[in-house]
Amino acid sequence: MGLRLPIWLLVAGAGCCAGIPAALAHAFLDHAVPAVGSSVHQPPAEVRIWFTEALEPAFSTIKLADGSGAAVATEKAHVDAQDNKVLVLPLPALPAGSYRVMWRVLSVDTHVTEGSFRFQVAP
């Protein structure tokens, strides 16, 4: 039998790797402003999240909760008109405290992902 068949396995793996479509994957958070786990002194005017993949605007949302877990009333999140990998949540004037950002997005490959992070507005 020799090594012929196992080598084909290696070739198949390398071939799959080389043929990976670059734009088909679920969306991970890349970075955010305010930064994940950060403390800011000025209340932010918005939460802006950069994702690794383009988003479907109609099914991508951000919600905000305060330190007690109560929902904070905000405008509706929207995908940035200039960059469809960016989701933006306009914020009202936030008092000092801890906040939890909860995002749920649908990437253009139809995969749903969700996640959350906290930031703090320092007094």
Binding site: G13, L24, A25, G37, H111, E114
Partner: protein
């Protein structure tokens, strides 16, 4: 041929049957992404393929050396029901003897996702693995001459629900499995085929979770996708020569054997790379350090509109 036929059948069925709606991504429970581990079973059903897994085993107790190349595929039928298949090619170099090589046996499995608890990053799965007898080269490839049935329970738990005062521990996750193996033949060429209790776990620290869910500490791509981990496996015989009072097998060897495998996984958008050292423990398990390297593809990301979707339905097996 078998694998090609299976893949073609799955692709065709998926193209015909999937309804085309949104799908949950693989290996997620809330904020937590569980990577596919190399030594222990994953606690989630998925559309994934490991192609290949290259293993250099530790030197065995007689000084022999062995290597294997394995291909694995996992495919969902429903969103919570999946099947798996694996096949390997093995190469043995006994000390002082000519080498031999051949196909290992076929392994298949069926898995059902019991639960996924998103707030607590907790998931559980039950499965039945079957190592089929007479499906490989018994003398040359180390394949079995009998079929073995192995029911398992697999779980994954992320620590993201810890209080904020323990934020640096939140990236920790543990996956694990417990199960039994029941050979369908009592002995093979004079060697007893024992029923065994199997357990294993993987302890992970996800830099992806730290950077994207706990605190932006400035880890840039591609390092923000690294998951250092250590895996531990164990196999303990429970009959046919095993003495429960002494904890020994046939009065000679210690009962429990396994490996400790420290390593690292890089999980990207459509594939992941994993590498681990293999350190054996237990009497008769050889010595030295082995290694394993795995290239693993997320079929649901690579082929989201065809083979990457559940074959029968995007919904669960039972309505709920």
């Amino acid at each position: 041929m078998f694998r090609a036929l299976m893949a073609a059948t799955a692709l065709g069925a998926a193209a015909l049957l999937h309804p085309g709606g949104p799908a949950e991504a693989h290996g997620f429970a809330g904020d937590r992404f569980f990577p596919a581990t190399l030594q222990t079973d994953d606690p989630f059903v998925a559309d994934e393929a490991s192609l290949p897994t290259l293993t250099k085993n530790p030197t065995d107790s007689t000084g022999g050396q062995s290597y294997s190349i394995e291909a694995d595929i996992a495919k969902r039928l429903f969103s919570d029901l999946g099947v798996t298949a694996a096949y390997s090619w093995n190469y043995f170099q006994p000390k002082g003897l000519p080498p031999n090589s051949g196909w290992g046996g076929l392994s298949t499995g069926v898995q059902y996702q019991l639960f996924i608890n998103n707030p607590h990053e907790f998931m559980g799965l039950i499965g039945l693995d079957v190592d089929w007898g007479h499906t490989g080269a018994i003398n040359q490839g180390g394949a079995d001459d009998h079929t073995t049935l192995s029911p398992t329970f697999d779980f994954g738990k992320g620590m993201g629900d810890l209080p904020d005062s323990l934020m640096w521990l939140k990236p920790i996750a543990i996956t694990g499995n417990i199960g039994m193996s029941f050979p369908t033949k009592i002995n093979s060429n004079g060697d007893l085929n024992q029923n065994t209790f199997n357990a294993g776990f993987a302890l992970e620290y996800s830099l992806e979770y730290l950077q994207h869910h706990v605190k932006d500490v400035g880890i840039a791509a591609p390092f923000d996708r690294l998951i250092p981990l250590v895996e531990v496996t164990s196999t303990t015989p429970i009959n046919r020569g095993f003495n429960a009072d002494s904890g020994l097998t046939n009065g000679t060897g210690s009962a429990t054997t396994g490996v400790v495998a420290p390593g690292i996984i890089w999980a990207g958008q459509t594939f992941q790379l994993g590498a681990e050292a293999i350190l054996p423990y237990g009497q008769g398990q050889g010595h030295g350090v082995g290694a394993v390297l795995q290239l693993h593809f997320f079929l649901d990301d690579l082929f989201p509109h065809s083979i990457g979707r559940p074959i029968i339905s995007d919904g669960p097996l039972f309505g709920r």
